[in-house]
């Protein structure tokens, strides 16, 4: 995961998406002769916050190692990473144990020219070092995830947690969050895991779930045929659904790790720890739990609003801005509002949290129908404004005038005696033939339950409903 620091891991170059190639570079991130790294203190701070969020043990002393290999996107011929003394160890998130959390630097970006953009068949390749040296955090779990769906859900919670911390953009499509999945099977009842394979660089939650599912099926086939799974690094092609081998364990490189002599150990001071603690926001899992416990939200709704920080924020602001009932408000945020704003942040649409609170209160007070409320919400999301005013302007207020509504009901019954007779003779479905014209006549402002009551009353069916 890329950290959202202002500058790179080991130099002062700015981090920015979309700048012209090789404009955000210096002797350090270009690996020029004589240049030396200096650790970004903000990256350490973020690393400690992640460690706290995941309940890790924060190492009082951790060191960087060099991981040596040759590739054109690696200007020094080694990546500065952490090896056997990482920043954080242990921990747990939603029942999944964390093995370790460590810091490292990202490689530069290779661009293959002269063909489809892939390395095979390209005429030559160029390197953009803008990304080179971006701070990365690698989070490794223990083998505690048991299904593709669980893997996906857990990764979504992890992303929500990291987003709440504000340490990363955690955008899988832009590559600021990437996942490698290690997959191994074991026979039912056994506690010994089989040989594992690694699926590299999956860039969406859906591909992760599909990739893991496909790999499980592939391994199952191998085992059921009596063969042995090979330890390999694999690539899942989401287009074709195929899994191909990147390299076998025998081809694995010897990275010749050794302690980075250009950097001194990171001694985590009490000040650094208290700084990280002070910066901790409420985390998604805790927020969901609070929504459930204190506001009475259902578990699923609580997790939806808790895990998506922007929804939780909007919900809480709306709650504070009015006197809407929490469960109803939560349902409107998580249901109707999300249906209109999708994966985006509702705060970036035109609707104010206070307006949604007012709308939900109008609805609860019977001042407008659900249908009308939906129409008001459409307007609020698209253009903003005050719900009362929109209701007034559009004449969407509920017909609380029972006498007026009763007249319309009587007229509709009179106009369709056949339907009225069917209802009277016990065909409940036929009531729709009467409700429809009434709602048309009232332009949806009538309360459906009230209309039904009035129809039944007019037809003399009171008292034996149900």
């Amino acid at each position: 995961m890329q950290l959202a620091t202002a500058t790179k891991m080991f130099c002062g170059c700015r981090l920015m998406f979309g700048a012209p190639p090789n404009t955000l570079t210096c002797p350090v991130c270009l690996g020029l002769p004589g240049a030396l790294p200096a650790v970004n203190a903000r990256a350490i701070h973020f690393g400690l916050m992640i460690g706290l969020a995941l309940g890790c043990e924060l190492a009082p002393r951790s060191i960087f190692h060099r991981k040596n290999y040759f590739y054109p996107d690696l200007p020094k011929g080694y990546q500065i990473s952490q090896y056997d003394e990482p920043l954080c160890r242990g921990g747990e998130l939603a029942g999944v144990r964390i093995h370790r959390v460590h810091l490292e630097e990202d490689a530069a970006k290779l661009i293959h020219l002269g063909s489809s953009g892939r390395i095979h068949g390209s005429e030559h390749s160029v390197v953009d070092f803008n990304r080179g040296g971006t701070p990365l955090v690698e989070i490794v779990t223990e083998p505690d995830l048991h299904s593709p769906a669980q893997a996906r859900e857990w990764l979504e919670l992890l992303r929500a947690t990291l987003r709440a911390l504000g340490v990363s953009d955690v955008n899988m499509e832009e590559g600021s969050l990437r996942a490698d999945a290690n997959v191994s099977l074991r026979p039912a009842g056994s506690d010994r895991l089989g040989i594992k394979t690694e699926l590299k660089n999956m860039n969406s939650f859906r591909y992760l779930e599909r990739g893991v599912a496909a790999e499980i099926e592939r391994q199952r086939g191998i085992i059921e045929a009596g063969d042995e799974v090979a330890a390999e690094t694999l690539h899942f092609d989401p287009g074709s659904g195929e899994i191909t081998s990147l390299r076998s364990k025998e081809e694995a490189q010897d990275y010749r790790y050794f302690p980075e002599p250009d950097l001194v150990p990171i001694a985590t001071t009490a000040e650094m720890l208290s700084g990280a603690r002070a910066a901790m926001p409420e985390l998604p899992a805790a927020r969901a739990e609070r929504f459930e416990r204190e506001l009475g939200l259902g578990g699923e709704r609580a997790r939806q609003l808790g895990f998506r920080a922007e929804l939780g924020d909007f919900f809480e602001r709306a709650l504070a801005a009015g006197d809407a009932e929490p469960v109803a408000l939560a349902n409107w945020v998580g249901g109707e509002l999300v249906a209109r704003t999708g994966d985006g942040d509702p705060a970036e649409s035109e609707i104010e949290p206070a307006a949604l609170a007012a709308l939900v209160t109008l609805l609860a007070n019977g001042r407008l129908s659900v249908t009308a409320a939906r129409e008001v919400l459409d307007v609020l999301v698209a253009a903003g404004g005050d719900p009362e005013q929109i209701v007034a302007e559009r004449g969407l207020g509920a017909l609380d005038d029972t006498a007026g509504l009763a007249e319309i009901v009587a007229a509709v019954i009179a106009a369709d005696p056949a339907a009225a007779e069917q209802v009277r003779s016990g065909n409940q479905k036929a009531i729709g033939a009467l409700v429809g014209p009434i709602m048309r006549e009232t332009r949806g402002r009538a309360d459906g339950a009230e209309v039904t009551r009035l129809i039944r009353s007019a037809l003399g069916l009171d008292g034996d409903a149900g």
Partner: protein, 479 residues
């Protein structure tokens, strides 16, 4: 003109600051002399003098070892793979010294990537010893040492990883200081072995060394995480005796393998030290005999990684005509590096390999710790340790090029201090005939002290220097 060249750097700086000497004239005199270099000490000499300097170093020009990055000026670390490389920035120490009034005179020859003890491993030909042009100046900072000895430069910057300042200073009859590790920023020094490399001065006398060194240290460089704030300023030495000091002489570094002439000069100097009032006694550094072995694991291990960036992708030499990436890498590094560099890359790569790491790198690190503990123990009883700087005087060109181990033994007395990260200075203590006969050549005397003891070390070296009254002018005619 020759009078100007005979002034020590400190005297020249004083004269310029007092208005008795024109800084431009001084620069031009050295530029002309360096430009007519017959020793192959310089790889590049400045065309024009800098604008008049108002810095405290008076504009006294500085010769700088090739491996320091100098903006827009070739910085090749003595290697074909960096031939013509022009860095976009200057090393911190070069910038600091230029700002203090020591402008760049030229870049000096060295063993490729500072790997060697004779400057014969330079891709640009060997430097000759100004005392005897059939002999080596030592290395790896041989160009800097020869330039200062021959009065081609008033003073120079070198680097020392296992003896690369002290040993050439000894072989050229000048002063060389290897500072406490971390005292001088390494930013902009093309790395050999990061945990050992230190920049230091090569000068005609101890006062010049103190003056130059005083402007190399100072505030910690934020660009070098391993650099440290030096505790207090460096003072110009003034001491005239050695009363109250205890000098330890480690048996392990002063016996077998040292040439008789060198040993004689060393013993005579110990007597002189005793005469100046110091207590001189034998001491022990029990792990010192293992230092060279540990060094030749650790330094190549770091070098194998530090030199990985020379891959032909971004700068420097790239072999042409390769069909694929691996071939480009292989041919670039095959053609671009010299034999000694390739030998050490292979040694280091092996030492770090999975399965061998503990047996080599891990064990060498433990030896390093033991050596540092040895010194700490000795410094409980002694102020300084004294050894010959090098086991022999300058040897003939080609004498040891076919025998890497014989070459490595040159650093036998200097490597332990490098591993311990402590400061050490070499001053000329006399002349000795080489074992095969021939004219007398300089002998170096090494004093080493605890970390950050540079002021005391320079003070003691100064008192000894006055008593020794070594005359290095014989080399001056050799330019």
């Amino acid at each position: 003109m020759n009078d100007i060249l005979e002034l020590s750097a400190a005297a020249a700086a004083k004269a310029v600051l007092a208005g008795d000497l024109d800084g431009g004239e001084l620069f031009d005199a050295y530029r002309a002399r360096a430009g007519a270099d017959e020793l192959n000490a310089f790889l590049w000499v400045a065309e024009d003098g800098p604008p008049a300097s108002s810095g405290p170093l008076g504009g006294v020009p500085l010769a700088v070892k090739d491996l320091f990055c100098t903006e827009g000026v070739p910085s090749q670390s003595g290697s074909r793979i960096l031939e013509g490389y022009l860095p976009p920035y200057s090393a911190t120490v070069v910038r600091r010294l230029a700002a203090a009034g020591a402008p760049l005179l030229g870049k000096t020859n060295q063993d490729e990537f500072a790997m060697g003890s004779s400057t014969e491993n330079s891709a640009f030909g060997p430097t000759l010893n100004p005392w005897d042009r059939t002999r080596v100046p030592g290395g790896s900072s041989g160009g800097s040492a020869a330039a200062v000895a021959a009065r081609l430069a008033p003073w120079a910057l070198g680097t020392d990883t296992g003896g690369s300042i002290r040993q050439p200073a000894a072989l050229c009859g000048i002063v060389g200081l290897k500072p406490t590790y971390g005292a001088v920023s390494r930013y902009g020094m093309i790395a050999f072995a990061s945990s050992l490399d230190q920049a230091g001065p090569l000068t005609r006398d101890v006062t010049d060394a103190a003056l130059l060194y005083g402007w190399m240290v100072g505030d910690r460089d934020p660009c070098d995480s391993t650099s440290l704030q030096f505790p207090g300023p460096i003072e110009l030495p003034a001491r005239s005796d050695l009363r109250g000091l205890a000098i330890g002489v480690p048996a392990e570094l002063t016996g077998e393998g040292v040439e008789p002439g060198v040993l004689a000069a060393f013993e005579a100097t110990l007597e002189l030290i005793a005469g100046l009032g110091a207590r001189v006694e034998r001491c022990e550094l029990p792990h010192a005999p293992h230092a060279l072995a540990a060094y030749y694991v650790l330094a190549p291990a770091e070098a194998s990684s530090n030199l990985a960036r020379f891959d032909g992708v971004r700068y420097g030499y790239r072999a042409s005509g390769a069909d694929d990436l691996i071939e480009m890498y292989t041919r670039t590094r095959h053609d671009g590096f010299g034999a000694e560099v390739k030998r050490r890359i292979m040694l280091g790569t092996y030492a770090l390999s999975s399965g061998y790491y503990d047996a080599y790198y891990g064990r060498a690190q433990r030896v390093r710790t033991k050596i540092a503990e040895d010194f700490a123990t000795v410094f409980e009883r002694f102020d300084f340790i004294a050894t010959p700087t090098a086991p022999g005087v300058a040897f003939e060109l080609g004498a040891k090029t076919a025998d890497p181990l014989a070459m490595y033994l040159n650093d036998f007395c200097t490597v332990p201090m490098s591993l311990a990260g402590i400061p050490a200075i070499s001053i000329p203590c006399g002349l000795a005939r080489p074992p095969g006969g021939g004219p007398e050549l300089p002998v170096g005397f090494q004093l080493a002290g605890p970390a950050f003891s540079e002021n005391a070390l320079l003070g003691a070296a100064f008192a000894l220097e006055q008593a020794l009254a070594f005359d290095g002018r014989a080399a001056a005619g050799a330019g």
